[in-house]
């Protein structure tokens, strides 16, 4: 098993005819993801390397049975593309686009919460279930199938930690990038719950960063609802307050949202926090060794 994407995923890409959309969409297909359609308004009837392109997501769903959408459209059109996918009945929307206005995301998030569609991202690297499906921009060749569920707010940091884990012989059930924006579709808690329920996942690694309170809330949640071991990493111990560190979400004001406060909240609830990516893998190896 795995979470969110697998061999049952039928992917439609909004923005498949664009440079980034076609590059990553085709990469995902080469990995084995069932890429069934692309959507670009006005380009219906064309194809990208044999993948049919439709004018609307509704048409793509009706014609191909797509159940997962990946959004690769520019920021000013992305909120609309997410809403369109949800309206067409897509169960899972993965939004890679970075730089979407936060008020757009407030409306989208509030609307999606009232329906069945789950959103991952925006401003995220997507989801990889090694050996099954890749939806997004995660370089799949670093990762193999295994029992670690990895959830992260950052892209390259995920690769770094995933690689450290791989060097100690760990593979992954799924890797989920939830994104670095202040308003993301899914938070740590929801993905951790999926890993808790997934039989393949035996260990959960969460990779957070400064800003917001998601890590603190995850700490509370893990203590009450999760019996699988969780190891955490928090980036941004040396970030100065009030400065945005690249991710729109990674800004700290006051003591709230600092890396120190997050690490302490997690440790208080029994979640071990690695101080470097290497240490995360060492802790994971220690836990795995103890449970075998």
């Amino acid at each position: 098993m795995s979470v969110l994407v697998d061999s049952g995923t039928k992917l439609v890409v909004s923005g498949l005819t664009g440079r980034e959309g076609s590059f990553h969409g085709m990469n995902n297909r080469r990995y084995g993801t069932d890429l069934v359609a692309g959507v670009t308004p006005g380009k219906g009837g064309q194809d990208v390397e044999g993948v049919p392109v439709f004018d609307t997501v509704h048409e793509a769903v009706a014609e191909t049975g797509a159940n997962t959408s990946m959004i690769f459209v520019p920021p000013r059109f992305a909120a609309d593309a997410i809403l369109e996918a949800a309206d067409a009945g897509i169960e899972l929307v993965v939004c890679i686009t970075e730089g979407i206005p936060v008020h757009d995301m407030l409306r989208v998030y509030t609307h999606l919460r009232r329906g069945p569609t789950r959103l991952i991202g925006p401003n995220c690297p997507g989801i990889l279930s090694p050996g099954k499906a890749n939806v997004g921009i995660i370089p799949a060749h670093f990762f193999s199938e295994g029992n670690v569920g990895l959830v992260s707010r950052s892209g390259t940091l995920t690769y770094q930690i995933g690689n450290e884990l791989a060097q100690r012989g760990f593979g992954n059930s799924s890797i989920v990038g939830i994104g670095g924006d202040p308003v993301q579709g899914s938070s740590f808690i929801e993905i951790i719950d999926l890993f808790q329920a997934d039989p393949q996942t035996e260990l959960i690694v969460m990779c957070g960063e400064i800003g917001g309170e998601d890590e603190e809330r995850a700490a509370e949640h893990v203590a009450e609802h999760v019996d699988k071991p969780v190891v955490a990493y928090i980036a941004g111990f040396t970030a100065p307050p009030g400065k945005t560190m690249g991710h729109a979400g990674a800004i700290i004001s006051g003591s709230k949202g600092t890396a120190q406060a997050k690490a302490e909240a997690l440790e208080a609830k029994g979640v071990r926090v690695g101080r470097t990516p290497t240490e995360v893998a060492e802790i994971a190896a220690e836990i795995a060794g103890a449970t075998v």
């Binding site: 008020h103 409306r107 995660i138 690769y159 990493y233 040396t238 470097t276 990516p277």
Partner: protein
């Protein structure tokens, strides 16, 4: 993007939030002219993006022209907590009867807008929260439904403000919400929200932060960006499309991806070093971007050593290596570099660096090893100088 008080008030006016009459001024002459137009007494206010202006002597009441001259002369050029005052706002003075606090902001945890009101305005909001947490009433607003009259009434009644201004304060709150939503703001704060001696409700201050990602919808607000107030190195980086934050250490840092760069700063700090900057070269960094990045990093004279930490996903390590070789060819590089390349095309990248045989470049295999090495190099450079 944070706005200056007078810029925030410009947005307030556009949405019907009452503010005292006022004019911006960049010189003493302009301040006097503004005061003459407005009529005395006026308040001369420093326009800087930092709190505590009043305590620092950046806000003064002037009863006549000579007082405006004196205050404007003293405040222009004044240093307020590290920021130099380049602009003033001259405003009609108000007679204060009550001071409240009002704000609309994005609550990240709830992922909803939040409206706040307190009858204890005029002081630091953190101070109010510490003195009497119940004195600040907070409610969430559904972004799809917007601000309803009942939100305003609830805030006003629960905050316990004077009965005769419940209605006008509720109206101001609704207009502040309108400004928040329509201007793509993430924070709209008024402290104090004033009740004048004539029982009029006016916003005496304006602290507005707008979403930089939404500036394309607000071309007028986009012109508020004050490039002269930006750090020259940060401006240089921005012009080249790099995400850069200046820090106060001596080790230049370059990485790809915000999370990895933050993590790199932490690992360097744990190894005993002090990062000089945060620089995210971004995904898919091409050779030219690397040349630009090296130039930005080295423009900081405090830098004694530089660490490149790349985990290639979309970014290809061979491109990064080529960029570094080009940079060494174009720039006069005097400080040592430590380079760690992992991920996509890492072997090719290391081969390129080995062949180029650049002076002062050490290649390390791991992030921890690279951090330890760069800290050592920065220390020995410090010992020499």
């Amino acid at each position: 993007m944070d706005l200056l008080e007078y810029q925030g008030k410009q947005l307030f006016r556009a949405h019907g939030v009452p503010v005292p009459d006022g004019r911006p001024a960049a010189t003493v002459e302009e301040a006097v002219e503004a005061a003459d137009e407005l009529g005395y007494p006026v308040v001369v206010k420093a326009q800087v993006l930092i709190g505590g202006r009043g305590k620092a002597g950046g806000i003064k009441v002037a009863g006549d022209r000579s007082e405006v001259e004196a205050h404007a002369g003293a405040i222009l050029g004044m240093d307020i907590r590290g920021l130099t005052v380049h602009e003033l706002y001259v405003e009609r003075a108000s007679e204060i009867a009550e001071e409240y606090y009002a704000a609309i902001l994005l609550d990240r945890t709830a992922k909803k807008p939040m409206a706040m009101l307190s009858r204890m305005g005029g002081m630091d909001v953190e101070e109010i929260a510490a003195t009497d947490p119940n004195a600040i009433v907070r409610i969430h607003v559904d972004p799809l439904l917007g601000f309803s009259d009942f939100h305003g009434r609830r805030l006003a009644f629960e905050a316990g403000i004077a009965g005769d201004v419940v209605r006008p304060v509720s109206v101001v709150l609704a207009k502040l919400y309108e400004a928040f939503a329509e201007e793509d703001a993430v924070l709209v704060e008024v402290n104090p929200l004033l009740v004048t001696a004539d029982r009029e409700v006016v916003a005496l201050d304006a602290k507005v932060t707008v979403d930089g990602n939404a500036l394309y919808r607000h071309p007028d607000t986009a012109t508020f960006r004050d490039v002269s107030a930006e750090d020259p190195q940060e401006r240089m980086a921005k012009e080249r499309g790099l995400t850069f934050v200046k820090l106060d250490g001596d080790i230049g840092i370059l990485g790809n991806g915000a999370g990895l760069v933050m993590s790199t700063l932490d690992v360097v700090a744990q190894a005993g070093g002090h990062p000089a900057n945060f620089l995210d070269a971004g995904g898919g960094s091409k050779a030219e971007a690397i040349v630009d990045a090296v130039e930005v990093i080295l423009s900081n004279r405090n830098v004694r050593a530089v660490l490149f930490n790349i985990f290639g996903g979309i970014t290809r390590c061979d491109e990064v290596a080529r960029g570094l070789v080009t940079a060494f060819g174009q720039l006069d590089v005097k400080v040592p570099f430590v380079v760690r390349l992992d991920g996509t095309n890492d072997e090719e990248g290391r081969r390129i660096l080995a062949e180029a045989n650049l002076p002062n470049v050490t290649v390390e295999k791991t992030m921890d090893g690279a951090a330890a090495r760069v800290v050592e190099l920065a220390r020995s450079a410090e010992a020499v100088s």
